[in-house]
Symmetry: C2
Subunit: 279 residues, 2 copies
């Protein structure tokens, strides 16, 4: 339903915000500083892209939004923890995130470290509260988030910073640092709708291609920013080849949705919006 | 089987070491530095107290050791992550752990942070691989480890360092920083043996009392160390009252085992060994 996409996004986001508010301890519960720090970073104006994809994947398979909510909230909590730890002085040392002081600037380094730890833990606890397939949903999230997923990608990214990595290294980083969590959110949504093995494989391929294309588009949009010293595919393969690869990946993502017919129209519209954005 | 306790401990530990080795990625798998750091900290000579209690709790209920192994390995992986993050410069800033350089001294701060993140993630993934009650086991571990458990205790501990906290603060810290994970390991073992609600409640009370007593004994043993500037119950309540409380907690732990009769003899022997130690 491309024409109603904005309404769909608004509606999903509102439901996700409410679920995040429900699963997070109140800001005044002891230790208050910790719970404030967790909420500060979770409610920092994120676009909730991963949860929206998780919900749309569940709905594509006829699942209910209600049943997909733990999966949707879990992937966003996990994403938030990665941002907090990424910003720490020993990592990217970023003082700002989305125009506000980063978590460690606002709450101190130890509290930011611990708020990240607590959000990672809460992400997996929330995944385990899914009314459908909690064990499989926890395993999907944890395997995408751990040393063979996001954390592995972070380590490779840190090692590559300031170096001249080759394309294989770039692919490893994009695959793990970005695509794994994108893919996991969609798999978790699908699992909450009792996906069979074929549907899971197809949606997993869709999620991977979307995640990789998302990162390419990000790098292309950042390419004009002279302050950006982070690792980018544009530095390695040039603008033209990067653009061509993003187009190929987007086509791969759309191909993966073919088995679902019209039921995947929302996923198609979301992917198009994500990959054709200009900011 | 108190007389065979040493053989029991040796046997359990050997099985736990093998399970930890099985669930951890090989040290030469990319990114190798990350996997080396994870293994460095997991195989650092820990006594595997929490896994042994998890296994003994399962066996007390007639469960198999095999079925308890994911729970046992998970609680040890989680414990290891807390040690790595605790040692970081922004936390306790400890250069040594068990006589060797701490993880960040050996692998750098960013890699230690990420190794801790990966171990926390792997702990919950391993819990989710339990052949019995994976969802309940993940929830038991995550709720004990998160902001209402271990992480909450850490934040309170940091806030109390260098202050003169009252007894209520001390209890909050001991309850969450130490007892919650002790209790969770025992609950997870019990859940792997399909514990009913009554057995779970009794073993949970046993685990909590053991964990609190364990921390009191630790503080009492550390009391003579002039270099120890960490938060200790001895500073707050004095040696005599601390000793009396440890004795009361040990009695509470033994009381909680009453419903199980002889089946709990191993748990009794383990608790006695833990609480009567002199080093």
């Amino acid at each position: 339903m491309p024409s109603d996409l904005d309404a769909y996004l608004r509606d999903c986001r509102q439901t996700v915000e409410a679920e995040l508010d429900r699963v997070l301890p109140p800001a005044n519960e002891a230790p208050a500083l910790l719970h404030e720090a967790m909420r500060y970073s979770v409610f920092a104006g994120g676009k909730r892209i991963r949860p929206v994809f998780a919900i749309a994947a569940a709905e594509c398979l006829g699942g209910s939004r209600q049943a997909a909510l733990p999966a949707a909230a879990a992937v966003e909590l996990l994403h938030t923890y990665t941002l907090i730890h990424d910003d720490l002085p020993c990592m990217d040392d970023d003082d700002f995130r989305r125009g506000r002081p980063s978590c460690h600037k606002a709450f101190g380094e130890a509290n930011a470290l611990l708020a990240g730890d607590a959000l990672l833990t809460l992400a997996l606890e929330t995944a385990a509260s899914s009314p459908v397939a909690p064990g499989a949903i926890v395993r999907a999230l944890a395997s995408a988030a751990g040393s063979r997923g996001v954390v592995g990608g972070q380590v490779a990214d840190l090692a590559a910073t300031g170096q001249h990595p080759d394309e294989a290294t770039m692919r490893f980083i994009h695959e793990h640092k970005t695509a794994d969590l994108f893919r996991a959110g969609i798999e978790m949504g699908a699992l909450s709708a009792s996906a069979d093995a074929d549907a899971l494989t197809a949606l997993s391929a869709f999620g991977r291609a979307c995640g990789l294309a998302f990162q390419m588009v990000d790098d292309l949009l950042d390419a004009d920013n002279p302050d950006d010293h982070s690792f980018s595919c544009v530095h390695i393969m040039g603008v033209e080849r990067a653009r061509a690869l993003a187009t190929t990946l987007t086509a791969d993502a759309m191909d993966a949705l073919r088995p679902f017919g019209d039921a995947a129209d929302t996923l198609r519209a979301l992917a198009r919006r994500l990959l054709e954005r200009t900011s």
